[in-house]
Symmetry: C2
Subunit: 226 residues, 2 copies
DNA sequence: TTTATTTTTGGACAATGTCCAAAGATACTA
DNA sequence: TAGTATCTTTGGACATTGTCCAAAAATAAA
């Protein structure tokens, strides 16, 4: 069980698989296509990843890991709405990096019972941390005190709904747009969902966040025009 | 080009294909499995539907047709928010009837350029009629007059986002729930998205709609308990 | 009855994910 | 250093997939 130089082959396979999956979709890249691309034999790929599922599982693990810190941050005291939205930006960027996964997640969870089981566990966790984050906004006076528990539940539903599926819509509706624009679009949508329930204090946070989105866009344009 | 009795074979194939696709997913039902199920030969299926794509296309056409009237109703004058939400209920029910389609729509649009082209056309139409409907709500005083055009744009985005993807989320998050409950859940979410922007007049419409959802649920429970 | 058209039959084809036995390469041990 | 154990590569087999097609059979039209 050494992890010396020979992990390089395995890692090489993983990296290229992720690239190809992201570009064309998990279902549309065959093991042979992957092997050919790497000048390897099919059996050599299946030596490290006996089943395609294992390759996808590894991708899934890395995405999960990338998002771990972010979601943990939701538990911390004095979280501002600004930070909350900023965190989602990082989550969205991570999802994009492993986009083949969220883009096929319906199919994957349907096809691989293991995935489904594992997903259901973290789904619960995510839900709880999202909920406690939003609850804390009401506590800290960033949401109006008049906001009911039921409305908070709806906010949680909407946030996780958008987080899970923005890439799916974007892949058909905004194919030609740049990823920075797309992420900004859905972050703005997220912000707009929360905004009606904010206090004036919370609203400032949201507005501040929306302002940074616009700034990013400006920067984008300038460096693009150069 | 007669359409006499022999359409029965074709129709039989279509009906069963839809059933199986809905149950297991388009990608996971093979032509042979379908043919075996119908006691037909593979070549006999491909005689009527040379490519799987044709089968999916037919499903797509029928869903489109089922939703046609509904979306046209968005254009009519004096549309109430209640009617608007009720219309979405019908749309959601139609989508469920052809659920294999929205559940694979990312993959389908990615894989079949024809689908993508056609989808982009109706996407534009839908967007426009949705937008004009919501604009009319502001005009008729059901939305607050203070609602900006930008906010209306966000509402349109959110509505179509939910309409397109609720089934995807439901298929992983609410597998064990009944479809009536699921549809009610997402309709309520839709209503809750609009609610913060309504006038008192419009709010009454939304509340009335939410009340009918609850009534449906009661009815559901009673007949279930019998 | 003959002719033309539609439908069914049965199987071929390449591509897919998965699997495996044997050969080769590498690392460890006596 | 020689021998042994482990890891890696090779090359191909297998069943299944979507697609395609020629010939037979059934049906309709003349």
């Amino acid at each position: 069980m050494k992890e010396g130089k020979k992990n390089s082959t395995r890692e090489m396979i993983f990296v290229r698989a992720l690239e190809l999956f992201n570009k064309k979709g998990i279902e549309y890249i065959g093991i042979r296509e992957l092997a050919d691309d790497l000048d390897l034999h099919v059996g050599n790929v299946t030596y490290y990843f006996p089943r395609k599922e294992n390759l996808v599982e590894e991708i899934s693990l890395r995405l999960r890991k990338a998002n771990e810190h972010t979601f943990n941050a939701f538990g911390k005291a004095n979280l501002t709405l600004f930070d909350f939205l900023e965190s989602h930006k990082r989550v969205f960027q991570n999802q994009y990096q492993y986009r083949c996964l969220p883009l096929s997640f319906v199919q994957l969870l349907r096809n691989y019972p293991n995935f489904y089981r594992r997903y259901k566990l973290t789904e619960q966790e995510r839900w709880n941390s999202l909920r406690s984050a939003i609850l804390s906004f009401r506590q800290s006076g960033q949401l109006a005190t008049s906001v009911t528990d039921e409305e908070i539940g709806d906010l949680v539903s909407l946030c996780s709904f958008i987080s899970r599926l923005w890439l799916s819509e974007a892949s058909v509706s905004f194919r030609e747009k740049k990823i920075e624009w797309i992420i900004a679009h859905y972050l703005a949508l997220l912000a707009r969902v929360v905004e009606p329930h904010t206090s004036s204090k919370g609203k400032k946070e949201v507005v501040r966040f929306l302002a940074t989105l616009r700034q990013d866009e400006e920067r984008q344009k300038k460096s693009g025009a150069k």
